[in-house]
Amino acid sequence: MKRPPRKSFTWKSITESRLFLPLLALSLILLFDFIFIPGFFSIENREGNLYGSLIDILRNGSTVMLLAIGMTLVIATGGVDLSVGAVMAIAASTAGILMNPSALWNEVFFVTDPTFTFQPLWIVIGVALFVSLLCGLWNGMLVGYMRIQPMVATLILMISGRGIAQLITNGLRVQITYKPYMILGQGWIILPFSLYIVAVVFTFTWLMTRKTAIGMFIESVGINLRSSFYSGIDEKKIKLIVYTFCGVCAGIAGLVASSNIRTSDSNNIGLTTELDAILAVVIGGTSMAGGRFSLLASMVGALVLQAITQSMYAIGVPAFALQAIKAVVVVLVILLYSEQSRSFIRRFSAPKTEAKP
């Protein structure tokens, strides 16, 4: 029996790795921060919990990381899910109304009691996630069984989702004051609590895709739908599951986001985050055409985006200019990925690899 060949730790094996470019992009941004922003790397220890700019990157990046996990799988099948931002809003509204249903009776009164909730926490989270699962299921039905183009199919929920979220809360913003719910986005156990959520979802997804055959089937469907069909892979079911899962990830992200801002603001929660999630996956090196994917690289991709934002804030770029500046940096990062710069890196690494035939 042959063992999988051990990868020798050569310069080439490093540059060919999927993680190389995302990590390179991330380190370039951090290097910039190291040089130009004093104190960016300092980490404070307050009562056992860690704080600092780096921690902020992780904490603020957690919603996009959650979205990117689901989005990676969707993109690997050759699709895309534009509705994740709207699903975040739906999940947030559902959770909000279950904790503070006063909006339903048009009674605008402010609950200030941090121990008050209409339903227990597990029902709040459970129902919110179930609703986002239904949203994902809807997308999956349209793409998998109705054979509608993913961009068109998910556009429907992207547009209508915020309306649905508003319907759920009767058009009001629901204030969230219930203390235990706050932990999701604001809790801190040495590291921000949201990071543990990301870690759990990531680990679960990694195990599901790499320790079962699902990951291979997803890639196979993304690379060659017809061959996969001929080989007996139920490509419709794969797509259904992937979009459903993406919906659940968006739901979790919505809960974290709403807990963070203490309100279910259906107009603003998750606004344009679908694009950040797609971008994170692309920076992670998964092709938009589908195929091979790396969850870890997508996580790094999400951190790249967040690091850019954080650095811009730190050097004092005003919020309104942020998007423009971010765009420039993203273009630079994508250029780094181009075939030209890849071949440049390859040429750079060539002499060392030629020594070994």
């Binding site: 063992r3 079962t212 017809r226």
Partner: protein, 507 residues
């Protein structure tokens, strides 16, 4: 050879090599004005390469092309068009959402005051269609609203309008047309012919060759077999010239075949009764017994692939019944077929076979894993064991099982797909053109493998364009012609009889 004074077009001594293949080897062709010349030959015979050389898509390595006695060098299809050589391809490359008139005059719209003169444009298009093709349709309607045959003719009209072409190349225009539409197209071709246009017509339908052509040029394996007057050649002769008869070593193969033939079970494992799908295959009866190799003979487009697809559940039949292992099949799908013990090596390796970015190992385990389901994931060790076993068994040339399959040569990719299906341990193995694009040595290996699989008690269906190969490996031969099962031969049968049937004679 052809007299250049009389000929509209002469191609002489054309050679063209692609990496690893001599696609054209000293091929000559001549075309007179006002005639329809059929270019025939099996896949890979060099028909399309020859036409690509003529229309400037590819440049020849040697040889010359004379148009009206003057040597020409077409640099691109556009250049060829200006010289008067137009091509209409099998897939219509027009815009279905534009009007017929727009399609015909695209890029040459008449203008008035800087704007498109629609009235004149429609009139021009109408004229072109009526004058050249004698058809009268509403040119303002979108092209997509017309039948494929009309679209085909609009494509011809466009070709004629642009260049007032002297030479028209029709590359399998009839493959998606039904009988009536074909007739319509033939009327147009005859009309053009009478106006002095030289037409080169490529088709796989032998009956159409005899219906429409004046002369026939036959290519085989990149060489010219000859040019024959249609009236002076019989169907049987033509087909045997297309297929060619290489007398190879029958010895061992025949012996294995005879021996394995004795173990054929009498009870049919797979039983199709009046199974058919409109537009794909006429209803047919077919039995496959354990231990038997059944060959499927017929020309390309005769419904071989469709037959295989229906048996494997790629497409749902709309008539008839299929029984596998005694049980009637209702849920047609590849996965269910795999579960019933079927396997299909598809004809189109690139589009329906390999998953090119996945590794050799992953490609091999794909079908067996799909059958096992998502959660019974083979451990890495089992995966490597399977992959190594089949890499050895089929001597797949790959540096490692972790090589992406796209880096392998075509023959090795084919073996990987074969390995994928053998790994599922199928009771019925359907092989659609398993030896296409594979060198001779590997071909013989695969043929022997098929026979040994039958000897193990599996039923095999062997589909190939090479008749000789079908005969050598099969215990029984089923012949398809123009999407219909026309005959079935058991036991020894000679090639001539089958060619005769393929050509349309009685069995």
């Amino acid at each position: 050879m052809a007299d250049p004074d009389q000929s509209l077009l002469v191609m002489e001594g054309i050679r063209k090599a692609f990496p690893g293949v001599q696609a054209l080897d000293d091929v000559s062709l001549d075309l007179r004005s006002g005639e329809i010349l059929c270019l025939v030959g099996e896949n890979g015979a060099g028909k399309s390469t020859l036409m690509k050389v003529l229309t400037g898509v590819d440049q020849p390595d040697a040889g010359r092309i004379l148009l009206n006695g003057k040597e020409i060098h077409a640099k691109s299809p556009q250049h060829a068009q200006t010289l008067g050589i137009s091509t209409v391809y099998q897939e219509i490359n027009l815009c279905p959402n534009l009007s017929v008139a727009e399609n015909i005059l695209l890029g040459r719209e008449p203008h008035k005051l800087g704007r498109v003169d629609w009235a004149r444009m429609n009139a021009l298009a109408d004229q072109t269609l009526q004058r050249f093709l004698g058809i009268d349709i509403d040119v303002a309607r979108s092209l997509g609203s017309y039948s494929v045959a009309i679209q085909q003719m609009v494509a011809i009209a466009r070709a004629l309008y642009i260049t007032s072409a002297k030479i028209l190349i029709l590359d399998e225009p009839t493959s998606s047309l039904d009988a009536k539409e074909t007739e319509q197209l033939f009327k147009v071709m005859t009309k053009l012919k009478n106006e002095g246009v030289g037409i080169i017509f490529i088709t796989h339908f032998i009956s159409q060759v005899f219906e429409i052509s004046d002369r026939i040029t036959v290519l085989r394996n990149g060489r010219l077999v000859g040019t024959f007057g249609t009236a002076s050649i019989s169907r049987v002769d033509l087909i045997s010239k297309m297929i060619g008869r290489a007398l190879a070593e029958f010895d061992e193969m025949t012996r294995i075949k005879l021996e394995s033939g004795q173990h054929i079970k009498s009870e049919a494992f797979l039983q199709a009764r009046q199974l058919g799908l409109t537009g794909a295959v006429q209803p047919f009866d077919l039995d496959l017994h354990a231990g038997e190799v059944v060959g499927l003979a017929g020309l390309l487009g005769s419904g071989r692939t469709e037959t295989a697809g229906i048996l494997f559940g790629v497409e749902k039949p709309d008539t008839g019944t299929l029984r596998i292992n005694g049980k009637e099949v209702h849920d047609y799908s590849p996965l269910n077929s795999i579960k019933r013990g079927l396997a299909l090596c598809p004809e189109d390796r690139k589009a329906a076979g390999i998953v090119d970015d996945l590794t050799v190992r992953e490609n091999i385990i794909l079908a067996i894993q799909a059958n096992k389901g998502w959660f019974k994931y083979l451990s890495l060790q089992e995966q490597y064991e399977l992959a190594d076993a089949y890499i050895n068994l089929l001597s797949i040339a790959t540096p490692s099982p972790d090589q992406p399959v796209k880096n392998l040569s075509g023959g090795n990719q084919q073996k990987v797909i074969l390995a994928r299906w053998l790994a599922t341990n199928p009771r019925v193995l359907i092989l659609d053109e398993p030896t296409r694009g594979i060198d001779v040595g590997t071909k013989a290996e695969i043929q022997k493998l098929v026979l040994s699989l039958a000897e193990e008690g599996r039923a095999c269906m062997f589909i190939s364009s090479e008749l000789e190969e079908v005969l050598r490996t099969s215990h029984r031969v089923v012949v398809l012609r123009e999407r219909e099962k026309v005959a079935e031969f058991a036991g020894e049968v000679d090639e001539k009889t089958i060619i005769h049937v393929i050509a349309g004679g009685e069995a």
